[in-house]
C-alpha cells in the first residue's frame, strides 16, 4: 500500500512529526515489523502476537464458544505465520491478514468439531440465571443463539468489520485505517451486516413484543 523507507530526519520532517503524521508513523512502524518478521526477528514476532492476540482470541471465541479452543485456533494461525515468515508480503495490513486467517481457521475447526453444544454452557457461565428455567429465559437463550448464528454466517469481511465496531468499539475511521479499507467500505459492510442479520432473524422479530411484555 504505502512505499516506505527509513525516515530521513531533516528540520522540515521534524515539524511534520508533531502534526497529523502520527498516523503515517504508526503504519510505517508496522511495515518495519513485517520486514523484521520476514527476516526471523523473534522480538517482532512477539510484538505482533501480544498486540493482536486478545482481539483475535475474542474473535475466535465468538465462533467456537471455548477460550482454550479459541486460543489454539489463534496459535495455529501464528505458527503458520512463523513457519512461512519468509513468504510474507510487505505493504498490507497485519490486522486484516490476521483476522481473516483466524476467521478461516475457525471455519475449519467448526467443520471438524461439534461446537454447538458448548454454546449454552459458555454463555450460561456469564449470567446468574443458570438455575432459572422460566420460559422467558429459555426463549431469550434460544434467541441469543440464533443471533450468534446469524452473526457468524456473515461474509468474512463483513463479519470482521462488524466485530471490530461492536466488540472492539472502534470508530469507522479507525477500522478503515487498521484494515486498509476506505470508510465508505466500512459503512457499506456495517449496513450489510445489520441488514443480513435482520433478515435471518425475521421470524424471531415478532418475539420481541412477547419478551417486552412478559
Amino acid at each position: 500500500m504505502l512505499a516506505l523507507k527509513a525516515p530521513v530526519i531533516t528540520n522540515w520532517n521534524k515539524s511534520l512529526i508533531f502534526g497529523s503524521k502520527l498516523q503515517h508513523l504508526q503504519v510505517e512502524n508496522e511495515s518495519n515489523l513485517i520486514n523484521l518478521l520476514i527476516n526471523g526477528d523473534e522480538n517482532a514476532f512477539e510484538s505482533i502476537f501480544k498486540e493482536y492476540f486478545p482481539g483475535l482470541q475474542a474473535y475466535a471465541s465468538s465462533f467456537l464458544h471455548d477460550a482454550d479452543l479459541a486460543e489454539e485456533g489463534v496459535q495455529n494461525v501464528f505458527c503458520r505465520v512463523w513457519d512461512r515468515r519468509r513468504q510474507l508480503k510487505t505493504g498490507g495490513s497485519i490486522k486484516s491478514f490476521l483476522y481473516r486467517a483466524v476467521h478461516n481457521e475457525c471455519q475449519n475447526i467448526l467443520k471438524h468439531q461439534k461446537v454447538r453444544e458448548r454454546f449454552n454452557v459458555y454463555y450460561a457461565g456469564n449470567r446468574e440465571q443458570s438455575d432459572e428455567t422460566s420460559s422467558k429465559t429459555i426463549i431469550a437463550n434460544q434467541l441469543k443463539e440464533q443471533i450468534n448464528d446469524a452473526m457468524n454466517q456473515l461474509p468474512e469481511q463483513c463479519r470482521i468489520v462488524f466485530h471490530l465496531s461492536r466488540f472492539e468499539n472502534l470508530k469507522y475511521q479507525q477500522i478503515a485505517d487498521q484494515m486498509g479499507l476506505s470508510v465508505k467500505t466500512i459503512e457499506n459492510q456495517m449496513g450489510k451486516a445489520l441488514k443480513i442479520m435482520r433478515q435471518k432473524l425475521a421470524e424471531y422479530l415478532p418475539l420481541i413484543l412477547i419478551l417486552l411484555i412478559c
Binding site: 502476537f49 492476540f53 486478545p54 486460543e71 496459535q75 456495517m190 450489510k192 420481541i208
Partner: protein
Amino acid sequence: MNKDNLHIDNLLVKYLIGETSESENVQILNWIELNEENRKYFKEFKWVWDQSKQLEIKEPANVEAAWERLKKRTIEKNESSKSSLLHIYLQPRWIGVAASILVVCFISYFYLQRTHKSDIINLASDGRVLVDTLSDGSIITLNAHSKLTFPEKFDDKSRRIKLEGEAFFDVAPDKNKPFIIHVNDVTVSVVGTSFNIKSRAGKTEVIVETGVVRIKNNLDSIQLSADERTTVAGNQQLSKQLIADRFYNFYRTKVLICNNTPLEDLVSALNEYYNADINIESPSLKKLKLTATFKEQPIDQILTVLEQTFKINAKRNGKTIVLKE
C-alpha cells in the same frame, strides 16, 4: 430502489453507533418519521444491534501465558533442531567435507541441465479411471487397466508418450512441439486436439473429437478430422469412417447418448461398459432406432426403458439377457 435501501441501512447503523453527521442525522430521522413501516424497520435494526451486545466475550485473555505456549511451538522448536545440527557441522574438519560435497552438487547439477535428463513417469490405472495433467498443460484421461509412460519434462523438439490400453487426450496446442503417442506399432501425432485412443487385443482404434490427428503404422499413414475414426490391426492399409455415436466417451462421462442409434449398437456398448451379455433375438429388432440419454443409470433401468419404448421383453437367463418381441 435497492441502492436506496442500502443507503438507508448504512445510515441507520451509523445513527445507532452515533457516527452520523448533522445533516445525516436530519436525513435519517426524517426517514424514520415518514411512516409506520419505516419506524418498524428502525426498531428492528435497533433491536438486532442492542441484542448483539450480549454476545460480547468478557473474559480477558492471558497474553503472557499464551505467548509462552506459542514460543514453545514456534521459536523454541526451531532452535532445538537448529542447534544440534549446527553443533555437529561446524567442526572444522566437516567444513571441508561440506565444501567438497557442494562442489560435486554444483557440477552434477550443471551436467544434468546440459543433457536434458528428465525423470520418466509411469502412470498406471488399475481398476479406476485416472485423470492427469502433463507439464505442457495437456490433460489425459486414462481408462482402467491402462498405462502411460512419459518424461516429467518434455524435451525441446517434441512431446513423446507411450500408451498401453485406452486414454482420452486433450492436447495443449504447441505448433513447435508435436505431441507424439506411441501405441503398439502405431504412431499418433498431433499439434493441439482432443481424441481417444483404444488399444486392446492387438487392435488400435483412434477417434478424433476436435482438431486433426495424423496416424501412422509401418505401411501407411492417414489424417483424421473431428468425428472420424480409424481402426488399425497389424500391418495393413489405413482407412477411416465417421463415428456413429459417442459411446467411446462413456468411461469419462458415464453418459450414453443415443441419437437415432440402432439398438444393436447400444447393446454392444452396454455389453462392453456394463460387462453384460445381452443378445437380440430377431434381426428386425437390431435395427430399431433409439433416441435417449442414459446418465449413470444401472443396467436394469436402461432395460426397462428399452422394454417400454419398443414393446419388447428382456428375458434373463442367468447372466445372459435376451431381447425379444
